[in-house]
Subunit: 243 residues, 3 copies
C-alpha cells in the first residue's frame, strides 16, 4: 500500500501526476490518499499530524510524504524505515517526529536523480519513482546512501499547538492524549476548555476537549465548529492547566 | 464494490483511515467514494440523497453509509440488505428511506464490537470491518442479530425540501420527478420556478426545474448558481404548484 | 488507465456515478482522477490545461474529458486518438488543442446511444461506457463513424490567458514556456512580473513567473498566493514583454 500525505491539494492537478508515475513503476500498487490538504508550507504541524496518523496503517506501508516549501534547493531527499513502515520525502523535518519516536529506524539519502527533474515537483519526479520501487519490493540500493540520521530533526516531543483544523471545525493539537489527565483544562487564548468523552455528552454549541480517534488532544464542539467558537487556527499555542 | 457515503469530508484525514481498514480486511476490494460531503449532521437529507443515488450501483454493492451525529451513544449499528444491495451504518434514519422503499429487505443489528473502539469514529472501527467482510462474501453471522426492522424509520415518502446543493449551485430536492407533472411550478420562498428539459433550453441566468440524472426534481440555472439566484439552502421547503 | 478530466467537482455526487459505470463495463480498469475542478463551463481554458497535462500520462491512456455546458443539445460526441492516447468527450473544442498539436490523429463520431440517456449527464451515460470499452481493448467499431476532423476547432496556438488557479494561488497560463525567453517580463493588468527559476530564489511575498512542472508559464509567489497578490483570475489576458 502506498499512502500519500501532501499539501498538493485534494482537488488540484498534482495528485494524479504523482499517481500516474507510481502506477508506471508499480502497476499493481494500491494507492491511498491520506491527506492532500496538509497545512501548506507548515512542516512542523505536518510532522506531528503524520506521526499520529501513520499508526493506523499496517506494517509494510510506504508513505510518500511531501510538504516541501524548499523544493528545488539543496535540501536532501530521504528514505526512512521506522518500525517496519517506509517513508519517502524531503529532509526538512517532516519525517523527523516519526523517526525520533521510532523504536527501530534506518535512514538513507537518495542520490539518484531522474533524467527529467522539474525544479518544483519532486513529489512526481523523484519521490514517486522511489516510493514505487520500494512498494514493489525493490529497494534502490545503488541509488541511495545510508546515513546515521536525518539532517533536520524536530525531536520526539509533543507540540502544544493547533496542528490541523478538520472540515467540521475540530481543532487537533500536537499533544498526545495519553499524557494529559482527563481532569486537565485546555487553555487557548482567553478560552478554558474542559474534557468530555463524546460529543453527545456536552450541550449543543459547547466546546470540550477529548482524545480523538488518532490519540491526540482535540478541541471540539457539539454540533458546531470549535475553531470558529474558539478562534482557533493552525499554529496557535495551547496550554494544559491542572485543575 | 464498496461504496462510501459519509460526511467525513472529501479532503480530510478520515476517509483514508476507513480505506486502510477496508483493505486490511478485504485486500482486493474496489472502493468507490460516492460522497464524503453529505450534509453534516443532516440525517434526513442524507437518507433521501442516498436513496436516489444507490439506484446507479449494481446488485451486490456494499454501501458504507455514515452520517452519525450521535456516534458514541447507544444508537444501534445495523446491516440492511435491500433489493440485492448491502448497507452498513448507524440506525438513526439514514438507511430508513431505502429500507421503506425496498421490495425485499432484511435487517440485522451488529452486536460485534472491535477490541479498539474509539468513541468518535465507528466508521473506521466498527462499520468498515463489517462492510469488508460482506464485500469478500463472509457475512458475519455470529456477530449479528436479525431484527424485524430498523428502530428509527423516516418512511418511504418524498421529502419536499432542498437536500443537497452541488458545486455548480444546483439545488436537489427530495422529490422524485416521476411524481411531479412537467406543467407544475416549483415554489421556493418568494420564487416560482418553471420546468425545462435541459440547461440550454432556458436563457442564461434563468432558473428552472428539471428531472436530474438521478431522478430527482432539481432547481438549476443556465450558466449560473440556482442556489445563489434563489437563496436556496439545505432544509428549505419547496412546494409543487399546479398551473 | 482511464483518466478523468471534468468539471464535475472533486467532492460532489457525480464522479462516483461515472466510476461505477466504468467499472461495470471494465471491472479491472485503473481509474485516475486527473481533475474534477476544471473551470466550470470554460471549454477553452480546459482545452489548454488538458493539452499540457496529458503529456505526463503514458501511451495507451484513455482520457474521459467532460466540460460540457451544451450537454443535451445536438453537439457531437467524439473519440479522438492522438499520438497513441485516446480521448472521449464532447465535440465542443475541449479536445481540439490536443488534436491540432498531435503528430498523428484519428477522429470518430459516436453514433451509439444508450437505452437510458439522461439529458444532463452524458459523462456517465454515454462517454463512460465508450471509454471503458476502449480501455479493455474493444474499440466500438459498429457504434462510431470515422470523420476527417473535429467540428469545433480552437487550433494549436498558445492561449495568452490565465487558464487555471491552483490551491496555492499559482496562476497557470496557456503559454508554453519553451516559447518564452527567460529575459521576458510577464504583464498582467498593471503588474509586471519577472522570471525566477524556483520559489526559494525570490523573497517571500514576491511574484515571479517560471516554467512549471507541466511546461507552462505560471505566475507564482514565494510563500503567498500569486492570484491574490496580482488579482489574477481565469480568463485574464497576459502579455509577454521583451526587456
Amino acid at each position: 500500500m502506498i499512502i500519500l500525505f501532501t499539501d498538493f491539494g485534494a482537488h488540484d492537478i498534482y495528485v494524479a501526476q504523482v499517481k500516474a508515475e507510481l502506477l508506471q513503476h508499480s502497476p499493481s500498487a494500491v494507492v491511498v490518499d491520506l491527506l492532500h490538504n496538509a497545512p501548506n508550507f507548515r512542516v512542523e504541524a505536518g510532522a506531528h499530524l503524520l506521526a499520529a496518523l501513520q499508526a493506523r496503517f499496517p506494517a509494510g506501508s510506504v508513505f510518500l510524504a511531501v510538504v516541501d516549501p524548499r523544493v528545488g534547493t539543496d535540501r536532501d531527499a530521504i528514505i526512512l524505515q521506522a518500525d517496519e513502515k517506509w517513508y519517502v520525502g524531503p529532509d526538512n523535518g517532516l519525517l523527523s517526529v516519526i523517526s525520533a519516536r521510532a523504536a527501530q529506524r534506518r535512514t538513507w539519502r537518495i542520490i539518484w536523480r531522474p533524467q527529467r527533474l522539474s525544479s518544483s515537483f519532486h513529489g512526481r519526479d523523484l519521490f514517486a519513482p522511489v516510493a514505487a520501487w520500494i512498494a514493489r519490493g525493490e529497494f534502490p540500493q545503488d541509488n541511495v546512501q545510508e546515513v546515521p540520521d536525518l539532517q533536520v530533526r524536530l525531536g520526539p516531543d509533543d507540540l502544544a499547538e493547533i496542528i490541523y483544523v478538520d472540515h467540521y471545525g475540530n481543532a487537533l493539537t500536537g499533544l498526545r492524549a495519553s499524557g494529559v489527565p482527563r481532569s486537565a483544562v485546555l487553555a487557548l487564548g482567553e478560552h478554558r476548555v474542559p474534557f468530555a468523552r463524546v460529543f453527545a455528552e456536552v450541550s449543543t454549541g459547547s466546546a470540550f476537549w477529548y482524545e480523538n480517534s488518532i490519540g491526540l488532544v482535540e478541541l471540539a464542539a457539539n454540533g458546531a465548529s470549535a475553531a470558529a467558537l474558539l478562534g482557533a487556527k493552525i499554529g496557535d499555542a495551547v496550554h494544559v492547566e491542572s485543575k
